[in-house]
Subunit: 332 residues, 2 copies
């Protein structure tokens, strides 16, 4: 149980580390119990994602990367929904309030809040005797009725994905001494690149408006491309064929696959990609890919939505179906 | 670290326990990554509060009361801001997903969501090896620019508080075998009443509109009346005199004070009251008290806002200043 203590400890902590992040007038400088998202013509998109020490990040991860990951997994949801970031609230469950951890955490969170235009609106800091946990609820704005859902995919739509798939799963594999660590013993640059993809997601908010303009359905890839596509299809009442050979891979991932050092399941079911997966009518897929090129982001066609309710089929380069033993990464 | 597992475990858990709570169309039946708060002329009030096992509730507390407390501490913030509940998102960090715990938890959460008109919009369930934690971000609506803040208290305003103060702190004292437990050995009814106040807050949402109509500043009393009044005064740039003898007490609390079984500090600094503390111009204080009477809720004048920046003064029945050793309950 708790002990009565310095009554202003939580307030001091908030004032010291987090008030500088509360730049939006609706945050009231964090002196109120509540914040305001001002009335506008827009719908407010709400998303919430938590990260837990030892589950979603490693206890040895640097605090600045933990902060960025906690915010960016939420920004990634907003990007996939076609929403412009509007702000976030933060729940921070801490074992202690050490400056050596909080200072780089708050600084990095502030940098990301600024660069993504997503100011801190409020939050709650609580003590916990257990693992640290950061829960963020983020808000975005879309014109009324224009959020991109999961339910609109239609037979004939092309399946597009941003960036590259599987790098974060390989980064975790490197950090935990798995097959990728062994295979990349002599390639520190590749190891670092993969670790960085695990620790610091690159949410695709630059593409949010184009997703809103063109996609019939979208979600971010957080639990593995194969499983997330399966969820999107189920929500839309459709099926899909996915060409595994078309799935975009980084040079490091492609090299590991070519050497048979890792299996393709690791990439397709690995999770933590935080890329946008979306379905787009054939006639508009070029426009979305062009929008990606305009901002320096690869957008790749990897398959097609088909009618039916069965699980998506994953085809190899010869058109043969691959039997994936698992589709997703689950923390339960 | 995690182990790859049944990919649909989290989805099954959500579908089984929480989908029935997602009655708002903006929740999309919890099949999307995000929810929608529809555009309206109103400002959206956002508040977030987390409860941690062993910190904000006891590991032995029944799951239904934990659910109610987690939601109600947030509803209490909305009430104090003058906002009508609009919905909430839930982050649930669980050690396990046992039906014996989740079923009563979800059922009670659903009952409160219905009775307070605050539907579940979305959430995230994560596994944790540590204590359970429930973080809720709740949303309310107020007419544009009408949220009741902390900064508007003016010298001459009366200080009003709803309900009774100190019962929850005494309830915790009973549960943890403190002085109140000893003093109430032969009074099981009083013990139960106090424990209930600790476990199940009674947020004053029925009074939200009257608070919005009359209060210059308001907050809910969560960390102790003395400390929370001090925070409100600091935010408003004013001071206050509080008449301790006027602070409304339940019969159980009043009896313990009369017998000198507990000291008044336990009541004033104890926390977990979840009553509304507000400041109201003299001319409107009767109207707010009348609004309370109309809904069967005591609203009591306990002091006056005065000019100055010093800490509020706490006066006994003879007008002598009490020196409180502590003002708040802190979890740090």
């Amino acid at each position: 149980m708790t002990t009565p203590h310095n009554p202003s400890a939580e307030d001091s902590l908030i004032a010291r580390y987090f008030k500088p992040l509360a730049t939006d007038p609706g945050a009231f400088g964090l002196v109120d119990d509540a914040a305001i998202l001002s009335s506008s013509g827009d719908d407010i998109v709400v998303t919430t994602d938590a990260v837990v020490e030892g589950v979603h990040y490693l206890a040895t991860d640097p605090p600045d990367t933990i902060a960025r990951k906690a915010l960016r997994v939420n920004l990634s949801d907003l990007a996939a929904k076609g929403a412009a970031p509007a702000g976030f609230v933060l729940t921070l469950a801490l074992r202690s309030k050490e400056d050596a951890w909080l200072r780089p955490f708050a600084d990095a969170l502030g940098e990301d809040a600024r660069s993504f235009g997503c100011p801190l609106l409020g939050g709650d800091t609580v003590s916990t005797p257990g693992p640290q946990m950061i829960s963020i609820t983020a808000f975005g704005r879309v014109p009324k009725g224009r959020m991109v859902g999961r339910t609109g995919a239609k037979p004939g739509d092309r399946i597009l994905v941003t960036g590259t798939i599987g790098d974060a799963a390989l980064g975790l594999d490197v950090l935990t001494g798995g097959a990728a660590a062994t295979a990349l013993t002599s390639d520190p640059a590749a190891r670092e690149a993969l670790i960085s993809r695990y620790r610091i997601p690159q949410p695709r908010n630059v593409l949010a408006q184009a997703v809103r303009d063109h996609a019939t359905a979208a979600m971010d890839v957080s639990d593995g491309l194969a499983g997330d596509l399966t969820k999107l299809c189920a929500a839309s009442g459709v099926s899909a064929t996915l060409n595994v050979a078309s799935v975009p891979l980084s040079p490091a991932a492609a090299g590991l696959v070519a050497r048979n050092a890792i299996c393709v399941e690791t990439l397709l079911a690995g999770g933590d990609d935080y890329e946008v997966l979306c379905t787009v009518p054939q006639a508009q897929s070029d426009a979305l890919m062009e929008a990606g090129r305009a901002v320096g982001l690869a957008v790749t066609a990897i398959g097609t939505i088909v009618a039916g309710y069965e699980r998506p089929r994953f085809l190899d380069g010869q058109g043969q179906e691959l039997a994936l033993k698992r589709l997703s990464y689950s923390h339960f």
